[in-house]
């Protein structure tokens, strides 16, 4: 009875005194029985036989519903937790259709190459057992030339990713005529990963895809699969631009899952300093592994993964105990395919007992079920949390998830409000396909693929963009059509995944070598790798010799230092438009375009560990300019919040606004499904534009990705959470776990926590009084 044994071990672990000290709450997800539906009667006989041969006598209800929708040729999205048999949701109707119609084709898109390869292996297995001779071919950057031609000409299922579709397939659609003419299904797996900038690009790639499909006379059905997010239908509809049905019920069985919330003990209660979540996670993982509980530990960075795995292995290699047969592997992106495969295989067959992973294992790669998952710090979003938690859990028996909080305000918020996790009220994923930069880029690509005709529909403002591009000379309008009129290949210069295709390359010149060790976008480079800055890579320190922006190079040299550098960044803001005033009243809330000019003119040298300031240096770089979308709170003298600010002295009022802004930024990801890094903030005691105290929070992607608009809608929820966080924080006067570190000039105000707390409360009061509850 292996399962009973594991259940006992989990119980033992939770009652261990060393563990119990940090356990704040324990929640249970009850077991759920499977609910089945019959195999469809009209299922192709060969496929039905293959299904039965693989012991699929029945379908889960969600698989059956997917079949029904697909046969009615309705576009739909399936919400699927890990290990719920989602691939059958699309493989069954697709293979059936391909068998019944020899001209039919299907396109499978995955966000990463690794996932495409996994999917192809799984698909081939099914095809073999059904004795189907359909070529299912992976077509991506790694596909050899000879196989590419085969994929174009004879593949019935093409497995690829949006990047390849964008830069390889669509611009060369005349080589794919048969494929596009027969295209019946487009399968989009891991839909939740298409959000933010990436999702905004991908939505435009789908517009182009549908346009080419229409050109060749096909009207494919979309089948989308997503992990839990707050707005699957909204995201799916925004991505493909059509009405989408949702399948949310899940018929797969689920054993009981225990979710424990662990807060590392306080070391310094006054400053609110806790033991590190990484160390604590490692300690807890070791305890579980020693008991023989197969465990996955999630860490936030590649570097942490390497360090934690090596610590664990060192610990287990001690010859004086009998733990030396416990093997832990690091798993992260950047591993070679066969290294990755070996780990996956080891996890499935049990030769690897544990794994330390970045979110690379979040996506649907099959590693079988593990007994426990430990999350070192909040993984950044609710859907990531549940994806990682889903890695623990097998067919039967209990599984355990331990969330180990860091000191950040968001982590501490979840420790105090575990029900926010359990309600599975996941964040909404947002995209903005009409981001003017992204949209314009894809209009270019689309015009390259096929000239635009008058009256054609493509996004919301096609004609404006066509005119704009025609004036710029990239398009030529002639005879009622717009033609690509440039010698370039536009897709080549447009990357779906980062702000700009031309990143700075970081080159290590230590001892005369010239090896590339990293890459960084230009705005970040100006703030992080200026001349004489300390750049930290894989735990080593490098001094920047020269940042050469023109040639996109940054030369560094390894050197041991006892300090790191921190640029003092000044943001000049210029509000360009006030497009939306969603509320107004006791506070002015504004959404609009903004010009952000960031300049770093000096930097601080801070001693490692103590963070003591040991000197300054100068930075000589031109400022970075960006137009984007912003949200602004303007304290317009009518509300109580504004009156409160006025009642404080100038300096204290500034200190209070700074703390308020810091809390706003750190709690915003709670509702926005974005990263802390995606937002920029500034506060002004007397703003140049409004001439009033104001707080700005803007989208750090040029042109915006919908974050500013969402911020306006979610302000109430974000501030309520911030208020709660402050109330519960163990510190006395404010700490990094709530309002952040105080600037030196505010050191006179000892109790910043109280004033920030009051400001948040009054802003909420003003909002509610204006009827915006």
């Amino acid at each position: 009875m292996k399962t009973a044994k594991t259940d006992n071990k989990i119980k033992e672990f939770l009652s261990d005194a060393d563990v119990a000290i940090g356990l704040k709450s324990i929640k249970k997800l009850p077991a759920q029985a499977a609910s089945f539906a019959e195999l469809p009667e009209n299922l192709n006989a060969g496929l039905a036989a293959a299904m039965k041969a693989r012991a699929y006598e029945k379908l889960y209800i969600h698989q059956r519903k997917a079949w029904d929708f697909a046969m009615q040729r309705r576009d739909f999205v399936v919400l699927t937790p890990t290990a719920s048999g989602k691939t059958l949701c699309y493989n069954l109707p697709v293979l059936h259709t391909l068998m019944e119609d020899p001209e039919a084709r299907a396109l499978y898109l995955f966000p990463t190459k690794a996932l495409s390869q996994d999917q192809q292996a799984e698909l081939n297995e099914l095809l073999e057992s059904a004795e189907l001779k359909f070529p299912a071919v992976t077509y991506d950057g790694d596909t050899p030339r000879a196989q590419r031609k085969m994929a174009r000409e004879s593949a019935r299922i093409v497995i690829s990713n949006p990047d390849m579709l964008h830069s390889g397939i669509l611009p060369n659609h005349t080589k794919w005529i048969q494929f596009f003419a027969g295209l019946k299904f487009i399968v989009i797996d891991e839909m939740h990963s298409y959000r933010g900038v990436f999702g905004s690009h991908v939505a435009n790639v789908f517009r182009r895809l549908l346009r080419i499909a229409r050109h060749y006379g096909s009207d494919p059905v979309f089948i989308l699969c997503s992990a839990t997010i707050g707005n699957p239908v909204e995201l799916a509809e925004a991505l493909v631009g059509r009405k989408i049905d949702a399948i949310t019920e899940n018929g797969a069985p689920r054993p009981e899952k225990i979710i424990a919330f662990y807060n590392p003990p306080l070391v310094d209660p006054v400053q609110g300093i806790r033991r590190s979540s990484a160390d604590e996670s490692m300690r807890l993982s070791a305890k579980l592994l020693e008991k023989g509980v197969r465990t996955i530990l999630f860490a936030r960075s590649r570097l942490k993964v390497e360090i934690l795995a090596s610590y664990l292995n060192k610990r287990f290699s001690n010859i004086y105990n009998n733990n030396n047969n416990i093997r832990v592997e690091p798993y992260r992106s950047g591993l070679l395919p066969n290294e990755r495969r070996n780990i996956e295989k080891g996890l499935r067959d049990g030769t690897v007992s544990g794994v330390v992973s970045t979110n690379a294992l979040e996506l649907g790669i099959d590693i079988g079920g593990l007994d426990a998952a430990i999350l070192a710090a909040w993984p950044g979003s609710m859907s990531s949390f549940w994806q990682q938690a889903g890695r623990a859990g097998r067919r039967q028996g209990q599984s355990l998830v331990v969330f180990v909080a860091s000191a950040s305000p968001l982590d501490q918020f979840y420790i105090e409000n575990p029900e926010r996790c359990m309600e599975a009220k996941a964040e909404s994923a947002r995209i903005d396909p009409e981001n003017p930069y992204i949209y314009t880029d894809h209009v270019k690509c689309a015009a390259f693929e096929l000239p635009f005709k008058e009256g054609e529909v493509f996004g919301s403002e096609l004609e404006s963009v066509l005119d704009f591009l025609t004036e710029g000379g990239v398009l030529r309008q002639s005879g009622g059509r717009w033609f690509w009129a440039s010698a370039s290949y536009p897709a080549e210069k447009i990357s779906l995944r980062s702000a700009s295709a031309d990143n700075i390359v970081i080159v290590d010149t230590t001892k005369g070598q010239n090896s590339v060790i990293g890459e960084m976008d230009i705005p970040s480079a100006k703030e992080l790798v200026f001349d004489d800055a300390i750049y930290i890579h894989k735990g080593r320190q490098y001094v920047v010799q020269k940042l050469d922006i023109e040639n996109r190079h940054c030369f560094v040299e390894a050197r041991e230092t006892n300090y790191y550098t921190d640029a003092v960044v000044k943001n000049d803001l210029k509000l360009l438009s006030e497009d939306e005033k969603p509320f107004g009243g006791l506070l002015d809330l504004v959404v609009g375009d903004i010009l952000v000019r960031s300049s770093a003119e000096k930097y601080k040298k801070l001693r490692f560990h103590s963070n003591e300031n040991i000197g300054y240096g100068e930075i000589f770089l031109p400022p970075e300019e960006m137009q984007t979308r912003t949200f602004a709170i303007v304290f317009n003298n009518k509300g109580q919040a504004a009156l409160f600010l006025q009642s404080l002295g100038e300096m204290e009022s500034a200190s209070c606004l700074a703390g308020f802004t810091s809390m706003l930024r750190s709690m915003a990801p709670l509702e926005l499904l974005c990263d802390y890094q995606d937002l920029g903030t500034a506060w002004r005691l007397r703003d140049d534009h409004f001439l009033l105290p104001s707080v700005y929070i803007w989208d750090r992607y040029p042109g915006g990705t919908g974050l500013a608009e969402a911020m306006a809608q979610k302000l109430d929820a974000i501030l309520s959470a911030a208020y709660k966080r402050l109330e519960h924080c163990d510190c006395q006067y404010g700490c990094p776990s709530c309002i952040g570190v105080a600037e030196e000039r505010f050191s006179n105000f000892k109790d910043r926590k109280a004033s920030v707390n009051r400001l948040i409360k009054l802003v909420l009061t003003d909002l509610h009084a204006s009827g915006q509850g």
Partner: protein, 384 residues
């Protein structure tokens, strides 16, 4: 989105200081007529240029196998071939790259060379342009291009597909680059049409426009009707097919051995081999002992194909001085000269080279097999 994208784009543009294109539209039609073009359909123009061919005119049927093994046994008269070249709006592939100008050249019975050029005045006339071009390309027995296998012909197919025109059956295609590379890669290095022109035809083009500047000139013409630079493009295109025609004749005669030019004889023999193996054999035999051993290697290949073992063995002294050369000499000494002492000497030199190679380039599987073989041979030879 509550704000007009147009307004936002305006702001972005003013920040990027994107220059507004000058929209100076002048009368293109007048200018084209003045430059000798005739409008044959709406937006479609044609021009003919006749020049006396400087190349020796070839009256007998041309054996197309000289240019491609796939055309074995096919023949055509010189005046039944066409020479074809595109000018395009971009240098990349993809469906947004178009061809706006084509030249199709051919020889007449009296040895003149006629170039017909087709030009589309603007994008909407592409279908007419392609249909006209197709009718020109379908007439001859074969189409000759330079680098057409990877550029002009695939591009033609893309453009036809974009305009939903079926190509029907096109004549055989000969890419002269293939033969040119065989002949001149070793001697010229760069096998571009331009360097062949210089080396073989002694031709220098004055004020020729570089291919990379062609797209910009076409876009400028579209916007402003600027003909001055466009005329450079027209001339460039016509010169390309004229040179192509003349080079074709020279290269063909070189392959037949009728014209002597500095080229790589091993490459020459490989082309001759698909016409007449005896010719190839003679070419290689002439070269024996006069080169670094490549001719001997090529000849050995030819002999082993025809099972001429003894002749093959006798080539050993001409081999290059590498492992294979020494090893072959060792076998030659043992089997043909019956001189085991010399054989041992060569086997030991072969071993020395092989060891040095393994040290420098790493020991591969083939190397270790050969190492083993030579060692055993040495032991055997010493045992005499």
């Amino acid at each position: 989105m509550g704000t007009s994208l147009r307004a936002r784009l305006e702001r972005i543009r003013s920040m990027e200081k994107q220059p507004k294109a000058a929209a100076l539209q002048t009368d293109k039609q007048e200018k084209l007529s003045a430059a000798g073009w005739q409008q044959t359909a709406d937006g479609l123009w044609e021009r003919q240029d006749k020049s006396h061919s400087l190349a020796a005119f070839e009256t007998s049927a041309i054996k197309l196998a000289a240019f491609s093994k796939n055309l074995a046994g096919r023949e055509a008269l010189l005046n039944n071939l066409c020479f074809f070249d595109f000018e395009t709006s971009g240098l990349s592939g993809g469906s947004g790259n178009i061809a706006f100008l084509a030249a199709v050249g051919s020889f007449t019975n009296n040895g003149d060379f006629v170039v017909r050029q087709l030009f589309m005045e603007d994008y909407p006339y592409e279908a007419a342009f392609l249909n006209s071009l197709l009718s020109l390309l379908k007439k001859p027995a074969a189409i000759v291009t330079y680098n057409g296998a990877s550029f002009d012909m695939p591009l033609l197919n893309v453009r036809l597909a974009m305009n939903q025109i079926s190509p029907g059956k096109l004549p055989a295609h000969i890419d002269l680059l293939h033969a040119a590379r065989r002949l001149f890669r070793k001697t010229l290095g760069d096998c571009s049409l331009k360097s062949l022109e210089t080396e073989l035809l002694g031709l220098f083009r004055h004020n020729d426009i570089p291919g990379s500047e062609v797209p910009a000139v076409w876009f400028d013409f579209l916007k402003t009707g600027n003909m001055a630079k466009m005329e450079n493009v027209f001339r460039h295109n016509a010169l390309d097919v004229m040179s192509l025609g003349r080079l074709f004749v020279i290269i063909y005669n070189a392959i037949l051995g009728k014209v002597i030019c500095t080229c790589d004889e091993v490459g020459l023999a490989s082309l001759q081999n698909s016409l007449d193996p005896q010719m190839a054999e003679n070419t290689l035999k002439d070269k024996l002992g006069k080169d670094d051993g490549r001719a001997a290697m090529a000849l050995a290949k030819l002999y082993s194909k025809n099972n001429r073992k003894t002749e093959r063995l006798a080539l050993a002294p001409y081999y290059p001085e590498n492992f294979h050369g020494f090893y072959a000499r060792s076998i030659y000494a043992e089997k043909l000269l019956l001189d085991s002492k010399a054989s041992l000497l060569y086997a030991e030199r072969a071993l020395g080279v092989l060891k040095a190679d393994a040290e420098r380039f790493g020991n591969t599987k083939t190397r270790s097999i050969m190492l083993d073989r030579v060692r055993r041979k040495i032991i055997r030879l010493k045992g005499y």
